[in-house]
Amino acid sequence: MSPPIDGAPKAASESQLIGQAQRGDEAAFAALFGAYKRRVYSLCLRMTGNTAEAEDLSQEAFLQLFRKIATFRGESAFSTWLHRLVVNVVLMHLRKKELPQVSLDEFDQGQEEPVKRDYGDDDRRLIGSVDRLSLLKAIGDLPPGYRAIFVLHDVEGYEHNEIAQIMNCSVGNSKSQLHKARMKLREGLRKGGKGIPTRTPRPAPDEDR
């Protein structure tokens, strides 16, 4: 039997499918899995930077989903509920593995040295549109805490107040961590050899202005 592919479930609305899954209907489980597998796996992959871990965590998240689905009462959108569940599964894993401190504020102290840049270090832009594969690699190379915040905000579109709640840190901390993550990512991308100029830099401006 093949699981269905991504996309809106065939011939049944999501709420119908959830109802069927709550009654143990395998086809409904398969349809829900098919509809969300890519979103779940991609989130896990980006937050861990590792395909084996992403696979395990996605599986764990779906198992938790199917075990808990009977308790879903539709107070929030199903996708939001699932997304939150996945983030929790990944963060639990990261905390067990790499973040012994539950607070990101505490975790931050253990990060690598702060990201600095030398003024006038390099005037070459990253290639016009950032190369997707290099970007994925650079995200994977970020320290886990930076990676989690970056993925939640810039990839998944969470707001800082939501991240603060999820990560158990302050909004300010979330913002500063995100900025550091972006700078770190830029550094990684430039080291990765993507600093190829796509156009000639503008003529030097009048510096004293």
């Binding site: 039997m1 991609s42 084996a52 696979e55 003024y119 006038g120 990253l126 997707r132 030097a204 009048d206």
Partner: protein, 227 residues
């Protein structure tokens, strides 16, 4: 030509520092005119800003990734073991007139379990990441490296089941199934040899597992077609 850091005036450097301080807020959508103004004046900082905006844009547009196909097989096996699913649904249930194929569904489920077992034999490390109370572990705990013959035995069982009924098939359909099973057997044999010679060959492993999954599907389909 761009100037080097050494000939960058001190005044401008302080403007760059101010830019750095405000950059984060600016990127968060807060109004920071000085950031915009400085980026227009300073090529180094304009590059930083352009890069960060490019990274943000590219990150927001990252495509979704496909999980490996085996994930559903693993999940399906665990759901079945936990009793979370009831009746499996096969294609023929879409068509009421084909209800006599119903007996084939448990065979398919068996094949899936067999494949799942095989997958976990191939990736024993994965089990360590699951919580100890997880029934996947309970279900598959006895599965060790020597289960590969078990898997082969299960698939062989399916094949025997099919061979006993194959004669009832329409000759043309039978020939199609035979040809596809031969192709899959060849690929299983070849991939198995590659994996045994080089266990790190992940691509060969993926092909091997895909061939097993396809073989189980073909056998299930063939058993369904026996009238």
């Amino acid at each position: 030509m761009a100037s080097s850091s050494n000939d960058k005036p001190e005044l401008s450097r302080s403007a760059c520092r101010a830019f750095d301080l405000e950059l984060s807020a600016f990127l968060e959508g807060e109004r920071r005119l000085e950031v915009e103004r400085h980026a227009q004046d300073c090529e180094f900082c304009s590059v930083v800003l352009a890069d960060l905006e490019a990274i943000r844009e590219a990150s927001g547009a990252l495509p979704l990734e496909d999980p490996p196909a085996r994930m559903w097989l693993n999940l399906r096996a665990t759901l079945a073991a936990e009793g979370l699913v009831k009746e499996p649904v096969a294609w023929f249930e879409r068509f009421p007139g084909f209800a006599w194929f119903e007996w084939a569904a448990p065979v398919g489920a068996l094949a899936l379990l067999a494949i799942t077992a095989g997958l976990l034999v191939r990736t024993p490390g994965r089990l360590e990441n699951l919580a100890p109370a997880d029934t996947t572990v309970a279900l598959l705990a006895p599965v060790e490296f020597d289960v590969s013959p078990e898997l082969a035995k299960t698939v062989t069982g399916l094949e025997e089941n099919y061979a006993a009924r194959e004669a009832k098939l329409d000759p043309a359909i039978k020939a199609t199934y035979r040809k596809s099973l031969d192709s899959l057997n060849d690929s299983i044999k070849e991939c198995r040899a590659t994996v045994e010679a080089k266990p790190s060959d992940t691509l060969a492993q993926e092909y091997l597992m895909a061939a097993y999954a396809e073989k189980a599907e073909v056998l299930q389909s063939a058993l369904e077609d026996v009238r």
